[in-house]
């Protein structure tokens, strides 16, 4: 086991251990807290629909299978993990996103017992045709629930208009039809490929003892033999599918997502580049920006307005979202503001203020054991060092941020709108 210790100026430190089998373990002791939070995750999400194992032939699997596997892993031959956690009182859950699946718990005591449960069930797959069938009913209802969510629909409609081939365009839970194709054998095959320690990570923060935790993990995480995952490329062209997409829905105010697809050269974005884009977004339309004020004064946005730099393996886009009586006017105003910034730059005072705020946010994150553990998952998937961000705000310059306006290309922008069923 290799160990590295990282320290910060704000009094926090953590250990990153890499086990011989490749598993990465992040541990942050936060002894002033009562509770602790642990995540056992794998770099396997909804976008992994085509892959190869150990240089074998590439296989395609049904949409939504990573999420289905997440549901099923809770069951073992001798009962389910929820029943085991019920004996300790821990709160347990799991989630699947585009590029990862995470199993987690939070507890106020009996941490090591809970950790044992987590380590054990994630390493003990048990799928039968009967249990797979049962889950199709439950997940079917989960999918139907999302079918009624405008914020979910408007995002995926935008992604489908933006990406022609990349799997980021498919729903994380799949469709009722695609999950009907899932069987036990397929689940085992995905498990054996992606649930190998070398593709996994454990992230822990809170009232715990690093040495004991590492000892337990080392004893418990089995070596499952070497597995090389072949990630088949998405063959995604640079251009978008279409620039406007609209769907009618039972809403009273239109809901929108306005995104810019970014031309990318490498699978992942570097942290500095992410930080610069995030600062730039605050300058374009953060709450202290001139554009935000104009949009608010003109009655075009409300408190639902938001933006994010949406990026993962082989995809990157900037997304502005919210509710508006006139989404096209919002999109036009954002485009105009970006053009103006490209030409004239931006207010240096605003730049210093948003940098200050971003630093404050980075400090605030350490208010929560959950936040720290979840940030570690980001570190593991994107290969960042947790404290790097804190340091970056001291060095990032006006020009660094201005340069990032290059990611906005109007010909790659997409507006997705959910509009009311009948025009009022």
């Amino acid at each position: 086991m290799e160990k590295q210790i990282f320290e910060s100026e704000i009094g926090e430190s953590y250990t990153l251990a890499t086990l011989d089998n490749g598993l990465k373990v992040y541990v942050c002791e936060m002894p002033q807290y009562t509770s602790a939070y642990a995540v056992f995750g794998t770099k396997y999400g909804s976008i992994d629909t085509k892959f190869s194992k150990n240089s074998g032939p590439a296989v395609s699997v049904p949409e939504g299978i990573a999420h289905f596997l997440e549901h099923k892993l809770f069951e073992s031959e001798d009962g389910d993990a929820f029943t085991r956690y019920a004996k300790t009182g821990a709160m347990a859950n799991a989630f699947t996103s585009f590029d990862r699946t995470c199993y987690l718990f939070s507890c106020s005591d009996r941490f090591e017992e809970n950790l044992d449960i987590l380590l054990d069930f994630v390493q003990s797959p048990y799928f039968t045709e009967e249990t797979v069938k049962k889950e199709q009913g439950i997940i079917g209802q989960e999918i139907r629930m999302y079918d009624d969510s405008p914020s979910f629909k408007v995002l995926f409609n935008m992604l489908r208009a933006m990406y022609k081939n990349h799997s980021v365009r498919i729903d994380i839970a799949g469709t009722v039809e695609s999950i009907a194709e899932i069987d036990a054998e397929l689940l085992y095959s995905c498990y054996e490929t992606f649930y190998n320690p070398s593709n996994m990570f454990i992230c822990i923060a809170g009232n715990i003892d690093t040495r004991q935790v590492l000892k337990r993990i080392e004893e418990s995480v089995k070596d499952r033999g070497e597995v090389t995952v072949g990630r088949v490329g998405f063959d995604e062209p640079q251009e978008i599918e279409k620039s406007y997409v609209e769907q009618k829905f039972p809403v009273l105010t239109p809901v929108f997502c306005f995104g810019y697809k970014q031309r990318i050269e490498s699978p992942y974005r570097r942290l500095k580049s992410k930080v610069c884009v995030e600062l730039l977004l605050e300058i374009i339309c953060g709450e202290a920006s001139p554009l935000y004020k104009r949009l608010m004064d003109e009655g075009l946005i409300n408190d639902e307005f938001d933006f994010e730099y949406f990026t993962g393996r082989d995809f990157a886009a900037v997304i502005f979202s919210g509710e508006s009586r006139d989404p096209k006017a919002v999109a036009a105003a954002i485009k105009a503001e970006i053009a103006s910034i490209k030409e004239h730059g931006f207010d240096k005072r605003l730049f210093s203020a948003v940098k200050c705020a971003a630093y404050g946010e980075a400090v605030r994150m350490f208010n929560s054991v959950e936040e720290v553990a979840l940030q570690f998952t980001e570190c593991a998937v994107s290969d960042y060092e947790l404290f790097e961000k804190l340091k970056m705000f001291k060095t990032v310059s006006y020009d660094d941020v201005l340069k990032r306006t290059d990611i906005f290309d109007d010909s790659l922008s997409v507006l997705s709108v959910i509009s009311p069923l009948e025009e009022a």
Binding site: M91, G299, D303, A353, Y359, G360
Partner: protein, 425 residues
């Protein structure tokens, strides 16, 4: 954790909750007023208007700029229903001075900012600034309309409206669209005056140190206001049991139906006496070990969620689920069957103990979140002897099976609300 309580004025107190855990200081103003059909909309709008601009910051961009310079100090506003009362909250959270990069004073500045926003609004001649009021009214109306898009929230709200048609608890927490539209700069100013003079007030400070003079400052500001008529928070009117349950059905263009069931329950809101009610609701439909999760979801595979929650101040239990319309009756029958099982004591020791452990685990973790600490002491400040989360955890641990059965026996079906997909029979 609650270190001390300071009298700030008649029916107004300041709680200092000392904790070394956090990198931030959190301060909240909490105003309680009785729910009132005519005034709820105006009171609910106030926290939002007051936290967007003030006399010192008439322009919200300048205020937001200032918050950025305070290292992303975060101002929040909310309006909630707590029993028969409206709870209006305004809060600020700011990183502690020691983390400032250039030695700036942050906490005192943030505390002063919040005080000035509460007491010195952007108003003159007995009226708020008209543009500010119009903007916040528009946002409030869009928020009310936006709720229709979130079907689970919408269905729960509709069930409560139907169940409490003749009870003040049935009114929407931020008023109706029409009521918001009718607010004027002058009527809002009058509401602000009433808020400061008549509301029961609790100010919570959660920090490693009490910011200097904070309570003295508030005290002197409140001393300029006639608070002789300030209210004290009393118990809410309990929900009465009825013989025949009401059924309400609505159709909408949705993929998945929603089933929401409202039950009345007899609960003594005193913390020690209400612990069995809390455990009962959790065994019925709390965690993954609960009757509803293991039967309606896992065994029958009818839904993704089916959960019960309790509001002890009103004696209310709500069960909600997202189900295919064709399965709604089956789910309803099973929910009632599981309730009968709890009433009959037909729950296992495992379910009983799991439930208590899970509640205790959550209560012990309250101290790890400033928001949870604030919420706890805000609600508790309305009672005469506030207990801590740890004390309540002890009450929960002491609950026995019989008291759970007794609590369940008072639960009676009142209203069944179903949201059905259009044309789906």
């Amino acid at each position: 954790m609650l270190e001390n309580t300071t009298e700030l004025s008649n029916a107004a107190k300041g709680n200092f909750i000392r904790t070394e855990r956090f990198k931030t200081t959190y301060i909240s103003y909490n105003f309680y007023l009785p729910l009132d059909r005519e005034k709820t909309a105006a009171f609910a709008l106030l926290p939002f208007v007051l936290t967007t601009c003030g006399k010192e910051y008439p322009d919200f961009s300048k205020l937001n700029f200032k918050l950025n310079k305070l290292y992303s100090a975060s101002l929040s506003a909310s309006a909630e229903k707590v029993g028969d009362y409206q709870l209006l909250k305004m809060s600020i959270s700011v990183i502690d001075d020691k983390y400032a990069l250039d030695g700036e004073e942050l906490v005192v500045k943030a505390a002063e900012l919040l005080n000035s926003l509460v007491f010195e609004p952007n108003a003159e001649n007995g009226a708020f600034n008209a543009a500010d009021v119009e903007r916040e009214k528009r946002k409030a109306i869009e928020h009310i309309r936006g709720e229709l898009a979130e079907k689970r929230i919408y269905a729960r709200r509709r069930m409560i409206e139907e169940m409490y048609k003749d009870d003040i608890y049935g009114i929407p927490k931020c008023g109706t669209e029409e009521q918001v539209a009718a607010i004027t700069p002058a009527s809002l100013y009058a509401a602000w005056k009433e808020l400061l003079s008549r509301a029961a007030v609790c100010v919570n400070v959660i920090s490693s140190v009490l910011p200097q003079n904070i309570f003295d400052d508030i005290k002197s500001r409140l001393s300029l206001i006639d608070r002789s008529g300030a209210i004290t928070v009393k118990d809410s009117t309990p929900t009465r049991a009825i013989y025949a349950a009401k059924r309400v059905e609505e159709e909408m263009d949705v993929a998945q139906g929603k089933l929401v069931m409202g039950f009345s329950a007899e609960v003594d809101p005193d913390d020690r006496k209400s612990a069995p009610f809390t455990v009962m609701c959790d065994i019925f439909g709390g965690g993954p070990y609960s009757r509803l999760f293991t039967n309606v979801r896992e065994k029958m595979s009818l839904c993704y969620y089916c959960a019960a929650s309790g509001e002890k101040r009103k004696g209310l239990v709500i069960v909600d689920s997202g189900v295919e319309d064709k399965n709604a009756r089956k789910a309803e029958a099973e929910i009632l069957r599981q309730l009968e099982a709890v009433k009959a004591g037909n729950f296992t020791d495992f379910e009983f103990e799991s439930s208590k452990r899970s509640i205790v685990n959550a209560l012990k973790g309250y101290g790890d979140h400033q928001g949870a600490i604030d919420a706890w002491y805000t609600v508790k400040s309305a009672s005469n002897n506030p207990v801590s989360p740890e004390e309540f955890a002890q009450y929960v641990s002491a609950v026995d099976r019989q008291s759970v059965v007794d609590a369940a026996k008072t639960v009676k079906l009142n209203t069944v609300y179903t949201l059905k997909p259009k044309g789906d029979k």
